[in-house]
Structure formats: structure tokens, C-alpha cells
């Protein structure tokens, strides 16, 4: 919908400027903080800058060539993918189960929903810190509870032992973001037209048949968008891992975001970090393009 052309004539010239005046500040800000730094770092990525070496001479593609020989970088990408492909399906399935559980009328439903969504509102750093306290091998309650179930003390070093660091991160991640999936899917399921399901029920369709053939297809667009949003979030995962393990032990849980941070702000490899940034953008651009198209499609 656009405004028609029957506004008073004296506004004619103003009217053409008006839409641009409204857009101006926003576009200026996005260019300043979004595009301008990117262009600047394109230049930097072709130079040889480090903390100690102010070498601004043109280095060709040296930094980009180095990306392919950087084993730690590709491992960090693998860690990120690993966390994503495990956490995302679990969050989706658990979120869907929770949404179905609370879709039918149940006394106290509104309160339950409000309480269950709390973890998503918490800062990821606080979520990581909280689970760090829960996981502590001496004073944390988790090992105590496991000890009760196992019948003997189990001082597990959750955020330290190689076998347990990924489960720790995944538990925390799933704890925080399953409620997000749950809320989205609950809203989507509540919007599904009930009449088709009721007709199918009269025809003798079972609960699972109705779910599979009627409700899930109806919420598929919302599900797709939810998956894309979470995939983009998980691809950049930083805070939770930082709070729980700082990428350790060694570099075992180093995600690509953490690696880029370490290179840029602890090793001060200025130019190389710029190159890493562009690799990340290139790798994610497919996902971003898909997300932009889907989100526009749903609109």
C-alpha cells in the first residue's frame, strides 16, 4: 500500500523528499557501523598488520592463502558445526514436544509458559556462568544428584574432561534456547485452523496422523524460519562456550568466533583476523541469503 497522490499541491516537492528523509538516518548508521568498517577491513586484509608490525604494504592474497593451511581455524569451524548439528535438532524436537504438551488447554497454562521462557531472557554469559556453578565437581548440585542416582559419589569434571566438555556446552545451549523454539512453535500451532483437524478426527484419524498430515505442514514455514534463525545464532556461538570452557581444554571446544577473537584481540594478528572475518561471511552468506528469502516469503 502506498499513499495516493491527492495530497495538497504545495507539498509536491516535499513529498518526494519525505520518504528519503525518514530513511536517511537509519541508512547512514548502517553504512557507518556496518559497511564502512567492512570496506576498511578489506584493505587491511591485504596488508601485513600485526600488533608490533605496522606493515601497510600490499601483501596480495597472502592472508587468504594462509587460511587454507591453518589447521586450528578449520578445527574451530568443525567444532562450530558439531555444536550446531547436535543442538539444533534437539532444540527443535524438544521445543515441539513442549509446544504440543501445552497446546491443549491446561490449568495454569499462561503461568507455565511465562516461567518456561525465562532461560531465553537471560544473558548467555549468565547462562554459562550458572551452568558453570551447577557443573562444579565439588560444590555443584549436579554431581550430587548423579551420585544419588548412581548410589556412589561421582565427582565428574564437567567443563574440564574432554569427554564431558561438549555435553556441558550442549546442555547449557539446549537449556537456554529450547524455550525459544517452544514459544515460536506454540504461537504457530495456536494459529493453525482447528476445523481440518476436527474433521479428520471424526473420520477416525489418530492424533499422530493429524499431527503429521495437518498440523506440522501448517507450521512448516514458521519452523523453517525458526531453524534458520537458530542456525545463524549457533554458527556464531561465543558467549556460552566462553563462560563454560573458554574454548578449552586446549583448543578442544574453540568455536570459529572464539578463534577469530583470540587471533584479533589476544594474538593481535590484525590483517589475518580481517581475512578470517571475510571467510566467515563467505561461509555464512549462503545461510543468510536463504534466511532473507524465507523471511520475506513468510511475510
Amino acid at each position: 500500500m502506498t499513499l495516493p497522490d491527492h495530497a495538497p499541491v504545495r507539498h509536491k516537492r516535499k513529498r518526494q523528499a519525505f520518504p528519503l528523509v525518514l530513511v536517511g538516518p537509519a541508512v547512514f548508521m548502517l553504512l557507518l557501523v556496518g559497511l564502512f568498517p567492512l570496506i576498511y577491513s578489506v584493505i587491511v586484509s591485504f596488508q601485513g598488520l600485526t600488533m608490533t608490525d605496522e606493515d601497510t604494504s600490499f601483501q596480495g592474497i597472502a592472508n587468504y592463502a594462509q587460511l587454507f593451511h591453518d589447521q586450528r581455524l578449520w578445527e574451530s569451524i568443525f567444532h562450530t558445526v558439531l555444536i550446531t548439528v547436535i543442538a539444533l535438532p534437539l532444540e527443535l524436537v524438544f521445543g515441539l514436544m513442549m509446544a504440543l504438551l501445552l497446546l491443549e488447554p491446561i490449568r495454569g497454562r499462561q503461568v507455565f509458559v511465562a516461567l518456561l521462557v525465562l532461560p531465553t531472557m537471560i544473558s548467555p554469559i549468565v547462562a554459562g556462568a550458572t551452568w558453570r556453578l551447577l557443573f562444579d565437581n565439588h560444590f555443584g548440585p549436579l554431581n550430587q544428584i548423579i551420585g544419588w542416582i548412581a548410589g556412589h559419589p561421582t565427582p565428574l569434571l564437567w567443563t574440564v574432561v574432554p569427554d564431558l566438555v561438549y555435553p556441558s556446552i550442549l546442555i547449557c545451549e539446549i537449556w537456554q534456547w529450547t524455550p525459544f523454539m517452544f514459544l515460536l512453535l506454540l504461537a504457530a500451532l495456536s494459529g493453525v485452523d482447528r476445523s481440518a483437524g476436527e474433521a479428520a478426527e471424526i473420520d477416525g484419524a489418530s492424533y499422530w496422523q493429524r499431527l503429521w498430515h495437518i498440523e506440522l505442514p501448517s507450521i512448516a514455514p514458521v519452523m523453517t524460519v525458526a531453524i534458520l534463525i537458530r542456525a545463524l545464532d549457533l554458527a556464531r556461538v561465543f558467549d556460552v562456550v566462553w563462560a563454560l570452557t573458554k574454548g578449552g581444554p586446549g583448543t578442544m571446544t574453540e568455536t570459529v568466533s572464539i578463534y577469530a577473537y583470540v587471533q584479533g584481540f589476544q594474538q593481535f594478528e590484525t590483517s589475518y583476523t580481517a581475512a578470517i572475518s571475510f571467510l566467515i561471511i563467505a561461509l555464512l552468506s549462503v545461510l543468510v541469503a536463504a534466511a532473507v528469502r524465507k523471511v520475506e516469503f513468510v511475510r
Partner: protein
Amino acid sequence: MSAKSNARHRRQRAVLALRYLAVLGLLIFFLFPVYWLLSISFKTADEIFASPPVWVPSSLQLNNYLVLFKDGDAVTVWNSLVTAGASTVLATIIGGLCAYSLARFRTGGNGLASWILSQRMVPPIAVVFPVFLLYVWFGWIDSYFGLILLYAAFNLPYVIWVMRGYIQDIPIELEEAALVDGCTRWQVLWMIVLPMARAGLFATAVFAFVFAWNDFLFALVLTRTEVTTFPVQVTHYFGGQSNFWAKIAAMSVLGTLPVFAIVVVFQRFLVRGISMGAVKG
């Protein structure tokens, strides 16, 4: 017949009981960590470092919080309030105006709208380094202005996208009538669009605030000592061998309360906001 309906009735009751049981399990899983954080913030050192753990603190002593205020650490919560608050106001105003333009005039066509949306999806780690270089150049590191500008810019795409949806849902007839009656465009915006978009603006602003409030990476990189925000402060309490548990817990609670308060106050606007925010961008 009555036996059959009795059986059906019993089955329904059993299903309902199972559902309550499942909800109870979920509440324990999702809320126990929150409880544990809260309980540690009230515990004495002896209670924190007890094995087996103390499940309920003996009293609601506020010492852990008082220490934060006495040492000046609590100022980081104030820093978070200033930066998240100011950036939210900025993003909501600038983004709201831009959204109106996109919704009513199709300014820039689909290209501009898509470009703005894609800005939202660029991973922060890819942006943070270039932004850092820019900020060093301009001398904006560790300043309120720098962080406010960044959070506002970071939230703009979200605000624009969601508000565009809200504004498109507002009937256009009132605006047309006002224009015919001789109102200026700005008067239309102020007197007709603003009141009708208010619920949407509140919901959008709450989410923008929460995004800025919860940010860690930008604050970690772009601040030093002056405008440290509370999530960065929390990570300062992690030690190699031992952690400052009382401070971690108290600071975390202190930094979470404002968000909970805002979410509770604006709750009725939020469900639409979260689904719009996700589905519409």
C-alpha cells in the same frame, strides 16, 4: 455405554495427570538453574563451599550484594542500563521512521529492505573486528557514545523489519483523510501513526533492549574500564583455579532483574513481538 464412557473418562484423567507430570519435570529442568543462581547469591561463604551442597540458604543475607556496591562493581549494571536504554531509544526512533518510509512509500524497493534485513544476520564476530579498527581510529573505544551507537546500529535492522510489519497492518485510510484535511506528513506521523503503532513500538523496544542488554562480545571488545557492562564484569570473576562464586551469582542476579522486570511489565505486548520478530525477521 456407561462403562465405556467411564473408561474414556479415566483415560482422559490419566492423560491429564501425565501432562501435569511432564510440565512439572520441565519446570524443574528449566527453573532449577535459576533457583540455584539465586540461592548462591544469598549464601554465606561456608554454605557456598559446602560438600554436599546446601540446598536452601539459611537466611536471606544480602552481604554478597552489598559487597558489589561497596567495591563499585555494581556500576557495571548502571553502564548496561545507560547503553542498552539509550541505544534502544535511538534505534526505535530512527528505525521506526525508516520502517514507516519502507511500509508506505516502498522507499528503495525490495533491494533496500533485503539489504537492511541481511545486516541483521551478519555474524557479530565478522563485524566486531572491523568496527574495533574503526573505533580505535575515531577514539570511540570505551565510551558510552561508541557502545550506544553500535547497539543502536545493531538493533536497527530488527526494529525496521518488525515495525514495517506493524505499520503495514495499520489501515491507511486515516492517514489519507488527514492529508486531505491539510495535515502535513509529520503531523500525520505524530498524531495518527504513532498512537496506532504504540503497542508494536513497545514490543520492539523491549526486544531491542534485551538484545543490547545481553550482549557480551561487543562490550568485551569495545570497552576497557570505564563503560564495562555487567556481562563482561561477570566473566572477570572467573579464575583459573577458583571462581568468585558469591560475586558471580550476585552480579548475575543483579544483571538479570532489570530484564525480568521489563519483560513482566510489558508481557502483554511480547508474545506478538517474539513471533513477529522471528517470523517477520
